[in-house]
């Protein structure tokens, strides 16, 4: 391959992608890394574009830069009338202008292809195996599901990439997370990724790029793999990766920006070399048995506060060090008492969406649980497809009807409630079963309480009005 390999011996997938993108390497190991895809959204990019204007610079590769507004956009049909919040409106208008002036690829708010940046990239075939992908957004890790090296960057770096198509980087360490065997029914990609964070903690991946592997990962669809990689950042890792395979190629093939014809064949030949070599060196290895993973939920205000749904709320004294105080604060914020069963926690709202679980498969899975059922009294439910195309696909399959019949709101694409930057927010004290990725204090609205879980678990909570083991709602075996 191209590049200046760091090792001559067996390499990890991360080593291979990194090496292939080195433009320049300093004696101290600082590298200039070429960036194949730069995704841009309205919140972290304005100052970077201003920087370009101030210094009279251009976007070096507008053809490799893709912009879409997602964080601030309202998800109600009246959004064509404009964004009410003046600051949000300006940020989106600014992105419109910057995209136009600098000639980057753009999906404006009212384009059917608009959606959450991390859903749009793969959907349009921008994200391809072996690429480097960056975005001024921490959940860029999502794209690692394709065997792309993908991570979030700051606003100064956004400007750096816009201007130079490169990023100044030092190599991270290699971490392998292997999920062996098969998942049990009712257990999903979200349960895998939450369980890993529960296992390693939110700092467990700090300084590493994680490669997820093992039979349970192989068995996942591309959607599921994206869910797993999406939360690599919650485990502290710089990026998460999954080696591409036939499923990956199948997903990519025919997408608008995927290679075609001879280029496809050439791409495929390279992509097939993208795996960690036998004997590659790992700085850290974590192995979890797929059979041991249960449907999980979070109880606190950190994504590491994960427990199987059958558990009880822990007491702060169960923890050690600084976590004791953190747990106390979490329980206080969440309004929970140690010892209560997780399944006794009542919810006020259910949110299905976000870059973690806003893809078609997530909606199908949730709809399957909801079909013929209704939201519990007093519970409000919101489904926010991750992109306009996901929404369209779901409507073609009649999923919108399932959600609407169940009493859910069926929204337009965007980040929505995942963070309170747009009108979709929790009220103070409101408790939500959410398929998003962060349960931080105030994340979904000031005083709002978030329990993270999979789409099927969120659907189950919607039906019963409290956190629920989805397996209890799943069709009972016919032969009794």
């Amino acid at each position: 391959m191209t590049g200046n390999p760091t090792h001559s011996g067996p390499r990890t997938l991360y080593d291979k992608i990194f090496d292939a993108h080195v433009v320049d390497r300093q004696p101290d190991g600082t590298c200039l890394l070429y960036i194949d895809r730069h995704l841009v959204h309205e919140v972290t990019s304005p100052q970077a574009f201003v920087g370009l204007r101030m210094s009279g610079r251009k976007v070096r590769r507008p053809d490799q830069t893709i912009a879409v507004p997602d964080h601030n956009v309202p998800t109600t049909p009246d959004r064509v009338a404009g964004i009410e919040n003046p600051e949000g409106r300006i940020q989106v208008a600014e992105l419109d202008k910057n995209a136009r002036d600098f000639g980057v690829n753009y999906y404006p708010m009212n384009d059917i292809r608009q959606g959450i940046v991390h859903i749009v990239g793969p959907e349009q075939g921008w994200t391809l195996p072996g690429m480097t992908v960056v975005c001024g957004d921490s959940h860029t890790a999502t794209h690692g599901a394709f065997g792309a090296l993908a991570h979030g960057i700051g606003t100064s770096e956004v400007e750096h990439v816009l201007a130079t198509q490169t990023l100044i980087q030092k190599k991270s360490k290699n971490m392998k997370v292997e999920i062996t065997g098969k998942l049990r029914p009712g257990v999903t990609a979200k349960d895998i990724t939450l369980s890993i964070i529960g296992h390693t903690g939110t700092a467990g991946g700090t300084g590493y790029v994680i490669e997820y592997c093992g039979e349970a990962i192989r068995d996942l669809s591309m959607e599921g793999r994206m869910t797993v990689c999406n939360m690599a950042i919650e485990g502290g890792a710089r990026a998460g990766l999954i080696a591409p395979d036939e499923k990956t190629f199948e997903y990519v093939k025919g997408r608008p920006h995927a290679p075609k014809g001879a280029a496809w064949e050439a791409a495929l030949a390279w992509w097939k070399t993208l795996f960690s070599d036998e004997g590659a060196q790992w700085d850290k290895v974590v192995t979890i048995r797929g059979e041991d993973i249960e449907p999980v939920v979070t109880w606190g205000t950190s994504p590491e506060d994960v427990l199987p749904i059958g558990a009880t709320v822990p007491a702060p004294e169960h923890f050690e060090g600084g976590k004791v105080e953190a747990a106390r604060r979490s329980l206080d914020y969440m309004g929970l008492k140690p010892g209560m069963k997780l399944t006794d926690i009542k919810v006020d709202a259910v949110f299905i969406g976000s870059c973690t679980n806003g893809r078609i498969e997530d909606l199908r899975a949730a709809a399957e649980v909801l079909r013929g059922k209704h939201l519990a009294p007093g519970v409000r439910g919101m489904v926010v497809p991750g992109s306009g195309l996901v929404r369209m696909q779901a409507e073609e399959e009649g999923l919108d009807k399932v959600f609407l019949d169940a009493g859910f709101e069926w929204r337009l694409a965007g980040c929505s409630m995942c963070l309170g930057m747009n009108p979709d927010q929790l009220a103070p004290g409101e408790r939500c079963a959410a398929t998003s990725n962060r349960n931080f204090e105030g994340r979904m609205g000031r005083g709002g309480r978030t329990h993270l879980m999979s789409p099927v678990m969120a659907a189950a909570a919607a039906v019963t009005g409290h956190l629920t083991d989805v397996r209890e709602l799943m069709a009972a075996p016919v032969d009794a």
């Binding site: 391809l128 100064s156 400007e159 750096h160 130079t164 490169t166 290679p259």
Partner: protein, 201 residues
Amino acid sequence: MDKFTTLTGIAAPMPLVNIDTDMIIPKQFLKTIHRSGLGKNLFDEMRFFPDGTENPDFVLNKPAYRDAQIIVAGDNFGCGSSREHAPWALLDYGIRCVISTSFADIFYNNCFKNGILPIILPQDAVEALMKDAENGANARLTVDLESQTVTGADGTAYPFEMDPHRKHCLLNGLDDIGLTMEKAPSIEAYEARIAQSQPWV
């Protein structure tokens, strides 16, 4: 980023110690989409009364200092929050140089990313320059980065220390981006290679 070579300008005295970035640019102005435009809110809560009128006692509101390009400040300038909005606001107002006995680390670094020269001088030099600055618009200081000196109104030159790499970047107007741009041939070579081997990228 603009180059910084020499600057002759009016110096505003701010003898207060621990001027933090919250004072430099209060939090309500961080929602902006710009790096520029923050100058009108520089030192907002010191510069303006709650009703929005100017506080005539604040140094930058005095006629002699309205066009100041240099601030001579008390110890530990720029402490507190890491917001890059602080150097953005200073720059937007027109301040290109701050002189003090010490700076908070992050603010100090942020200055170099934005073409602002923070100069550290010993206590007695800062005191002498502060006195000069207090003479109003007549007190123009000259800062010469190449020779690493600040020259007061009376002709006294004060030498200052500067990291050679940072000096090089400021003199040539190079931020990280500027430096990377110097490697344009490597980037072009990479792109040419990839255009051959991986045309789909």
